[in-house]
Point group: C2
Chain length 447, copies 2
């Protein structure tokens, strides 16, 4: 029996390791275009910032590690160009251009997503970068050094865009962020919460232009300026953080059903072809709150899907649950997290909601080092929590996790307001901010 | 209408403020023996340590603040000596020895707990201290300075004992901890988890003697040594952190029913006498897991009870839920938390359990500053989580809170293993340790 996994991101490698964990005999082969594997793309901005010393640090394992420790074969710099799902065969091309075929019993498509680069003038100039692979990160650092870059334009104010903006600022560059939406972090936070992040970055000296697209990139071979709203801004380089598109080409070739956004899978992570599974950024998932199809392009989602696919392939039943799209980012001194529905999406979908808010500290008022923390909690009409956004100086991620559990388990505002939260002056307040936010909603719910 | 609250701890003051929040007209009077109010006794060890500059810093409000901002009268240094519950009257003595009576419509007993000092030889020597009130804290610091103390014995290795031990060590004293139980933090952690804390403190240079009582304190007027297991240890002072006993004298005088451990209350925080309520360390509560009566001597419990009592007195219905006795402590570099059932109590009560463990880091492996974190999760036979203990270098409190929600909502090991946890390299691992601990249990549950 042979399982072939196409792609060496979090989803692909987790699937491979999970199959091996539950089945010692199956042959497991990972095929990837990349040269380096087993690194976290989320870490790229932090290397740029200098918080992590070097790109070498973020590579966790080599292909040799996988062979030695887990008996998993990893073929790097190899592209899968076709799938013959009738005969259970794939066609590949290795780095020297040699074509070869390989049969499989199970195929796992972990083909990820490609950066979406808007089709604007100047996008192919030298000095325009995307932020997807470790090669992109290395190339950005190299270009800054070789060209002594002073000014950068970051296009897109999502988490990666803002993390990169902050990282480049810390590296000493002058940074301009251009975002089409009227707020930063548009998919992640409501406008009111996003404003806290925006103000912080502006205070840190980052220029942010909202509600405007990047019109063109100007330069002669290399980037020299960007044009926004008819105005020119000097720039030595441009970082495109304009989102990603699921990579579904191979799935199409295999004949797998493609859904509204990406590859369709069932809760076992099986595609419409039973012995072909798919995991990670290339699949679509179900939204826990709305029940609608959505994307969940997060490393954590890929890991959880990889575990489910791997177990099922190894004959252990497992199910992937609908997602809350819980996420966190650290940008400078701010920790920013969100889970479940935002008020913005609720309004779009005409879901009636009640909002609870709290603004508090992360430690007892008198304990040094406490940071501000601001919470926005979203409840449905029944008083059950359906979403939460938090921006604060510390201890945000675990609070988001607590709220993810609360949402998943249908917890009410009354339960959260009365919930038992632990307390010690150096690490919390005697009145937990999550509880205060729920109490605030409780009043509006008329309870 | 007049509500009298006896006691100015977290429970008493929260009750008073909550009544006022929901009722602008009722007369609200707080009567307390103490001179200073509205401080957190949990902060005392951190002032000793020097993490908080002075005892003045931990006093959050004065009696005058309460009068001015909330129209609440606070009578300090006044003792309530009797309750005539038939005629709804109390008898008091003020600091000058004047006796007076006062009528009430509602009476709230927030009489707290008294330190339990074992009846050993030498307990009344100069230099023996308890750690209950801000006066105790001030007296300890003064005694150290005036007597140039070099060596201290801390009796009791509960959270306050260990926090004090660490604080005194940081202040430059040589510290010996003496604990009768065979482990530190006996009510809070299982022995295996307690060992991590013990080893850390020993590495920090604190001597710990377990499984032995303090036999006597030796000295001529002032403490000179302590005797443990027949051996003498030099000591300039002794800190008694030997636990507390609920203060139920006044409740007895009033004729309120006393339960197995403390004052009996219903879920509205009413005693057996309908217009007398009780909150805080002087009441007994219901254990969420076992359904048995228990104590919950925590500031957070007192606050939550105060809110419930205050609302009910003001005519707003509210219920106090059974407790998990969720707690956290920060001792030096370690954050230590627990919630729900321990394996030790489960075994005592013959409740069959399954344990899940994880040892991981608090940040991505390559991200600087990550700390070790160790998790022990307790599940019942059905696979539902009933307890969790965590010791780690950071981000423990909120994980405990997440687990309290999980326990409260009957979350299973399978749900936790598949739960969506947020991830960014500076603040978490892509495989959340809570999820790994649940996964570990899942295997043992045969699921």
């Amino acid at each position: 029996m042979r399982a072939i996994i196409v792609g060496s991101g979090a989803g692909g490698l987790t699937t491979a390791s999970t199959i091996r964990k539950y089945n010692k005999d199956m042959e497991v082969v990972v095929i990837t275009k990349e040269k380096e594997i087993a690194y976290s793309p989320c870490a790229i901005p932090y290397v740029i910032e200098g918080a992590i010393k070097s790109f070498d640090d973020i590579v966790m394992h080599t292909p040799e590690d996988y062979k030695k420790e887990r008996n998993i074969d990893v073929l790097t710099e190899t592209t899968v160009v076709d799938v013959d799902s009738k005969n259970n065969k794939i066609k590949c091309i290795d780095k020297d251009g040699n074509e070869f075929e390989m049969g499989y019993d199970y195929l796992v498509l972990a083909t990820g997503a490609e950066p979406f680069i808007p089709p604007i003038e100047g996008k192919d100039l030298e000095g325009v970068f995307k932020v997807r692979s470790i090669e992109d990160g290395r190339a950005i650092l190299k270009y800054i050094e070789e060209n002594d870059c002073k000014k950068v334009a970051v296009v897109g104010a999502g988490a990666i865009g803002l993390e990169m903006a902050y990282g480049l600022k810390k590296r000493g560059l002058e940074v301009l962020v251009v975002e089409m939406a009227p707020q930063v972090l548009p998919r992640f936070l409501d406008p009111d919460m996003a404003e806290i992040v925006q103000k912080y970055l502006e205070k840190e000296g980052i220029n942010i232009i909202l509600s405007k697209p990047l019109e063109k990139i100007i330069g002669n071979e290399k980037v020299e300026a960007v044009c926004v709203d008819g105005k020119l801004y000097d720039a030595d380089m441009v970082i495109m953080a304009t989102g990603v598109r699921p990579n579904v080409e191979l799935a199409k070739k295999a004949g797998c059903k493609i859904g509204r956004f990406a590859i369709e899978v069932n809760e076992k992570m099986q595609t419409s072809i039973p012995n072909i599974y798919a995991v990670g950024d290339c699949v679509e998932v179900v939204d826990f709150i709305t029940g609608e199809k959505t994307l969940s392009p997060f490393g954590t989602t890929a890991v959880r899907q990889g575990k489910v696919a791997g177990k099922n392939i190894a004959g252990v039943e497992a199910k992937f649950y609908p997602v809350l799209n819980s996420a966190v980012s650290k940008i400078g001194e701010l920790e920013i997290g969100g889970t479940g529905l935002t008020a913005f999406s609720a309004n779009l979908k005409r879901i009636p909601i009640v909002i609870g808010r709290a603004k508090a500290l992360t430690r007892a008022r008198y304990y040094p080092g406490g940071k501000e923390i601001e919470i926005k909690m979203i409840f449905n009409e029944d008083g059950r929590v359906v979403g939460c956004q938090i921006v604060g100086g510390e201890r945000v991620a675990e609070r988001i996790d607590a709220m993810s559990i609360a949402i998943f388990k249908g917890t009410t505002a009354e339960e959260l307001a009365n919930m038992e939260f632990c307390y010690a002056p150096p690490v919390s307040m005697v009145n937990e901010p999550l509880s205060l936010a729920a109490e605030n909603a409780l009043k509006k719910l008329g309870k």
